[in-house]
Amino acid sequence: MTERFDVVVVGAGPAGSMAALTLARAGRSVCLLERGPFPGSKNLYGGVIYGRVLDEILPRWIDEAPIERWVTRRVTMVLTETQSLAVDFRSSAWGAKPYNGATALRPEFDSWLASEAEKAGAVLVCSTTATGLLLDERGRTTGVRTDRPGGDIEAGVVIACDGVNAFLAKQAGLTSTEDPSHYTLGVKEVLALAPDEIERRFGLEPGEGADFEVIGGTGGIAGGGFLYTNRETVSVGLVLSIEGLSRSETRPEQLLAEFKSHPAIRPLVAGGDVVEYGAHLIPEAGLAMMPRLAGDGILVAGDAAGMCLAAGIWLEGVNFAMASGAAAGEAAAEALERGDTSAGGLRGYRKRLEANFVLADHRRLKRAPHLVLSDRMQHQYPQLVCNLVEEIFTVRNPSPKQGIVAQARQERRKAGVRLRDLARDGWSAWRTFR
């Protein structure tokens, strides 16, 4: 027996739930498939969600979403083996409505978002894996096959929100990338600490949270680290280049243990028992890996479309997933309305992404992933700036203090950075992040 819906959304992550919610509100019958026993059960991430994109669609999200802490402190840190240099930004504005970022646990958050889609009328079916697309003789997508008995579902449009491995987009021929350099691996530990202990260590008021993004500290493998405070746990993890890892002799959890024992990190995490350990891939390459976003009868959104923004000091994917999911939902509703669900009929999706931040941010930061994972950015520059700052603040009485420019020149030479490269990277950083 074959079921039929206007739309099947595969994956009840942030992209899928927003697509389903949008379609259900547009009066469409929509089936939201999730392979985990509940939404979020497969979706390990770092920790901070930027919910601004929900303001219009779910105006009460601030009060209703399962938030752990509102981020009021954001630290960007550079680590060498023995040194650390941080920009420590605090904003009390972020600690009051409308807030900025929030830490949240994905099993809670994704379950909540999916339940909002259900309230709007979407049919959520968990514990069900989509094993492939149903294609007609001309290669158009007509539905999905699931791993339940009698599990075929026909639909006018399939929205693939199945996350980073993107098997459905690959089957539809919208992408073929399996280039390891396009991905990083996130490994993470969740450590239990009492709420007041977290507030003491991170210098926070009750309910406030901290977000630490770290460049370096990954034992020579390109990548970075992160620390996020939840209500009664701290998430600590590393983001590791897949290529670096496959050449490495050191296993991910050993790298993580070394990161945790760095003098700048240890005092924050010491004594916290591991209460969960896990790993998940991150699509790192942005525009360079983005598939064709629409095919006949199919749209791709969220991580499946490489829309996660992973560019060193940024690690944002949930907001991009939610925005692209909502845009896919709107475009699918529009196409069904017009009776044209071909790739052309679905082109409203790309238009919407061009108009909002999703593609604009990716365009602007299109060189960032390459730059951030480059060897100089990963090793030489952190060493250089840390040494420079160390020189500046090391008191060498009775010798007089040296001029900063002279010291900088010296450190650059010591770190083996050529002026030409510095100038080039500086220029491309300017073009990338301006």
């Binding site: 985990g36 026993p37 497969k42 968990c126 969740v190 500290g217 998430s235 890892l245 969960e276 891939l281």
Partner: protein, 100 residues
């Protein structure tokens, strides 16, 4: 970094025991040990965050699917065509994150 990690003496089994796995009756990933005999990188052995690939003395690979994070790293790092067959486990089975 070379510093010893005094603050993290967690044994790997204990680390894995913190995460819930609902074990499917069928493996979702299979590794074809024969293809691995010629492999020089053995990238999966160090890269798999769940440490599921164990080299055997005769040059093969022993693989156990039960505590898999379903991340995909292994098929990305493996260069040998046909060595790994990879799919998601049956709906409802596999890793269940709760505090991530």
């Amino acid at each position: 970094m070379s510093r010893s990690s005094e603050s993290s003496p967690v044994a790997f089994e204990d680390r894995m025991a913190t995460t819930e796995f609902r074990i499917a009756s069928e493996p979702h990933i299979s590794v074809h040990g024969d293809s691995c005999r010629g492999c020089t990188t053995r990238a999966c052995v160090t890269a798999c965050p769940a440490k599921l690939f164990v080299p055997t003395s005769d040059g093969g690979i022993l693989f156990n699917y039960e505590q898999c994070f379903e991340c995909g790293t292994c098929y990305l790092v493996c260069n040998t065509e046909g060595a790994i067959t990879w799919a998601y486990p049956e709906g409802g089975a596999g890793v269940v994150y709760r505090r991530s």
